[in-house]
Amino acid sequence: MTDAAPTASDARAPRGVGARLLRKEDDRFLRGRGQYVADIRLPGLKDVAFVRSPVAHARIKAIHIPAAFRDVVFTADDLAGIKPIRAVSGLPGFKISEQPVLAVGKVRHVGELVAMCVAGSRAEAEDIAAAVELELEPLPAVHDMRLARAAGSVLVHEHWGDNVFLETNFEVDISAALDAPIKVTREISTARQCMAPLEGRGVIATFDHRLDQLTLYTGSQMPHIVRNGLSDCLGIEQGRIRIIAPDIGGGFGHKGILLPEEVCLSWLAMHKGWTVRWLEDRREHLSASANCREHAYDITVYADRDGRLRGIDCVAIVDSGAYSSYPFSACLEAAQIASILPGPYRMPAYRCRTYSVATNKCPILPYRGVARTGVCFALELLLDAVAVEAGLEPGEVRLRNLVQPQDMPFDNITNKHFDSGDYPGALQRALVAIDVPAVRARQQRGEPDGRLIGTGVSIYCEQAAHGTSVYAGWGIPMVPGHEQATARLTPDGGLELRVGVHSHGQGLETTLAQVACEILGVDPDKIRVVLGDTAMTPYSTGTWGSRSMVMAGGAVGTACAQLVARATRIGAKLLQLSPEAVVWREGRACGPNGSVSLAEIAHTWYRRPQDLPADVDPAGLEVTSGYKPVRDSGTFSYAAHAVTVAVDPDLGEVELLDYVIVEDGGVLVNPMIVDGQILGGLAQGIGTALYEEMPFDEAAQPLATTLADYLLPGPTEVPAPRLFHMETPSPYTMFGVKGIGEGGAIAPPAAIANAVNDALRPLGAELMQSPLSPRRIVAAVLAAKQASAT
């Protein structure tokens, strides 16, 4: 045990904001006592298996259900009155898709739900599903987003007339950049990926006749939003729905949507009276649900000879799949690209057109880093190309273009408001740590094993906890307002915090307790954090967008501050002082000559009210309060990633030799947990860079439907990075915290690709597509050899 990691029982160690407190929830997780949806046992539980479309695009002619199974197989015809899932964006020109919970008329992607089968076990339900026969009239499939935009393409939604959910345009005088002496143009693409949390989705639905209430257990990041969506689809009032999200084994966005399966199981519970369960298996997860990230860019960067940016001109396409998922919609990813592409770089001119394109693939979902991973990949790869043209080190080009700390707060060319930070400072520290001159010297020497060494950097920024003003503009079904928290003292002086966000690995049971401890002085061991239940927590849009520490942390802080005021007034009564004569210190109301503890105050309020005078404040010791940062345009955390790689040009293999991260997430509530967030994100970023890809054939069949085909990085692929923190507080949030949940996953693909390209530069090879698979690397090397030979 080091000094940096105090034990949970070490009462002398600081336990509030900034403490590296061990996680309260880990006691149950590390003992295998977490409770996930699949661990829940209810009497009479039946299992559901779905008949899913085996093809990407077809008309449904008939669904043949064997007579023996008529009573346990249900299709869209049975679901009278159930509305399709609609996630409409308010952005002008958005075309609406209606996602039927069970297919109606057509199937539009492999894995689309067609029928549900109920049995005593999953295996038997799968037997029934296998016996259901689909009569399908195949249609040509839209498998490629670039081809989807071509005139005459097959249409995913015929009445649209094309395959474009939404086109957006943004421009600041691009003509001013066109005469720049350096102009680099590239086509860049990122693979379609799957999110792959350890726990897949899972749903149990049951109906409680006493409460006249549907109870849905579901692994969700946003139980209140699921309730909104379910209420809309089922056509029942919200009071008749209770959503319980138990322990969640990783979310990453995959658990931030309304599932058609949730609607289906709810219908079964309500109309058949059954308690039913569906647990997503890995094949369903990979082929039918968790897709994300597929971007394509045609991008040109203009610069002066000294590497200073003159402008960016970009056309970006995102493969949104067949339907708009609820609540984030089919266009959040593409439409964000235009606003976030320039990031922390200064430039006088900019143009970006984006297309959210419908294809016969499953709907794209928001994955950790939403849009930013692709944007960072595109821009940071182009900056390296500019560096080559300008004859400068890649780090130097960035230093010449990054916003300077004295210019904070900074509104960039797309009017993103950067709250604070020292971007050049972070980059310089990363460059020093990775030791670029040493890498250059090593490159000169060459490697005895014939591998090529390269180094690369990338910088990202992560807008987090962006609120009402930002989301009102998107006009999607979910706009976050004031975040609320309930802080409730128990009669024995314990504290219960109730929040509508959820924790799926973030350690919020610990960090929210640290916030309360900081303000109220209650030991985190005596604080219980209640999450994941619409019946127990205040409304919230949930956990997404790296918002929970800023928003729920702020709400907990606000509620606790009000609790301090109330407890102080009661304490003053007990001390027979005026409230002005009493201060709150370390969990006690302190007067000049004595003090009274929070536990004594709580005990008196709840159990000995006769000791309080008649004019005591009647508000009590339970507070629900709301919070928003001073400005709700978001906090901007950021980092510089630097990596040194060795590339085997014959086998196309990449080894990460050294990895450095210098990150600034503002004030860190628990730096140990932040380290964990960054490490997990790094692993996912390495997956994006080198391994993860869901390819499709021309019939839009997904080709990586098991984890033998869809490769995830494991312990042997993820190096221990060297991690450095900077703490520039946000001027707008409580304690100066910033959201940091996603950043680790954003920068690695760009840094690694830049390092690989740096290594391959002597061969003239360059890769602009992720993942950088062995085949792609070798193909690029062979192509370069061929080009130099002719």
Partner: protein
């Protein structure tokens, strides 16, 4: 991902096992560790009405010497070989290959006979045992026959196994002290299926060589003469004919030049390793 229902038999003796196999009038699958068959069942890629699990048969876990050769029971696990629980006549080649198979959890249950019977072109044993000149002992209620591994493997997931027949042992000739062996494979991650694999056996005392290129979509490419080295194995490292290897891969249906380049580079590394 739950298996379709099947009848499961776990015989206690060879004779019971062979009787079960002989009686089977429908499709039957033999399970000898289940590390490949298990996932295939769960994915319903195979839906056999009956499974005969032979992993408990003591006869199939025995190892004996037969003159210079070693006869390894089909149900000896990769871990048994990795950990040196069986004798070695290959100067360390066998345990080294075993160590590189998938992950330890797979090696604990996966068996050498099961691997050959499954005949995945990317399996380490398929390539290695072919290069080492091993043969397979096949037993049915009608009797026993031996086939060279190169004849036994007939394609991706295809073998010469007849209905009612069982792989009971692998017969491995001993490696002469002068023999040179090299092995290389390329995997996206340690333990994942290889996308390129090659084994090289050079026997200077008999002037013979055997090269096997595995992890292609069909039967491994076996080169039993010294054509890859210009007709003579002296100075084989220097005389390796990359173009010929490339052409052989092309003929075997590897049309992607980058994939061929990786295969040939892996072969070159196996050859380099075999070189003195």
């Amino acid at each position: 991902m739950k298996a379709a229902s099947f009848a499961y038999g776990r015989p206690n003796s060879m004779s019971d096992a062979l009787a079960l196999l002989a009686d089977a009038d429908g499709e039957i699958r033999i399970m000898a560790g289940g590390q490949s068959l298990g996932p295939m069942l769960n994915l319903r890629l195979v839906q056999p009405p009956r499974i005969v699990d032979i992993a408990g048969l003591a006869e199939l876990r025995s190892v004996e010497r037969d003159g210079e050769a070693l006869v390894i029971g089909a149900c000896v696990t990769h871990a048994d070989i990795e950990d040196g629980r069986i004798p070695d006549v290959t100067q360390g080649v066998l345990p080294r290959i075993a160590r590189g198979i998938a992950y330890r959890a797979v090696r604990n249950r996966g068996t050498i006979g099961g691997s050959l019977g499954h005949a995945d072109p990317a399996a380490d044993w398929v390539t290695t045992l072919a290069a080492l000149g091993a043969s397979v002992q096949l037993t049915s209620s009608a009797g026993r026959r031996d086939l060279a591994v190169t004849e036994f493997i007939q394609g991706a997931l295809q073998t010469a196994l007849r209905p009612g027949e069982l792989v009971t042992a692998i017969r491995l000739p001993s490696l002469s002290p002068a023999a040179r062996f090299g092995y290389a494979k390329a995997c996206r991650k340690p333990g994942e299926f290889a996308h390129a694999m090659a084994a090289v056996l050079i026997e200077p005392d008999t002037a013979r060589s055997r090269i096997v290129i595995g992890a292609i979509d069909t039967t491994p490419i076996v080169i039993d003469d010294s054509s890859l080295f210009g007709g003579a194995i002296t100075e084989f490292r220097q005389s390796f004919d990359r173009d010929l290897a490339d052409r052989l891969l092309m003929q075997a249906g590897v049309t992607d030049p980058a994939a061929r380049h990786i295969h040939v580079s892996v072969l070159a590394r196996a050859i380099a390793e075999a070189a003195p």
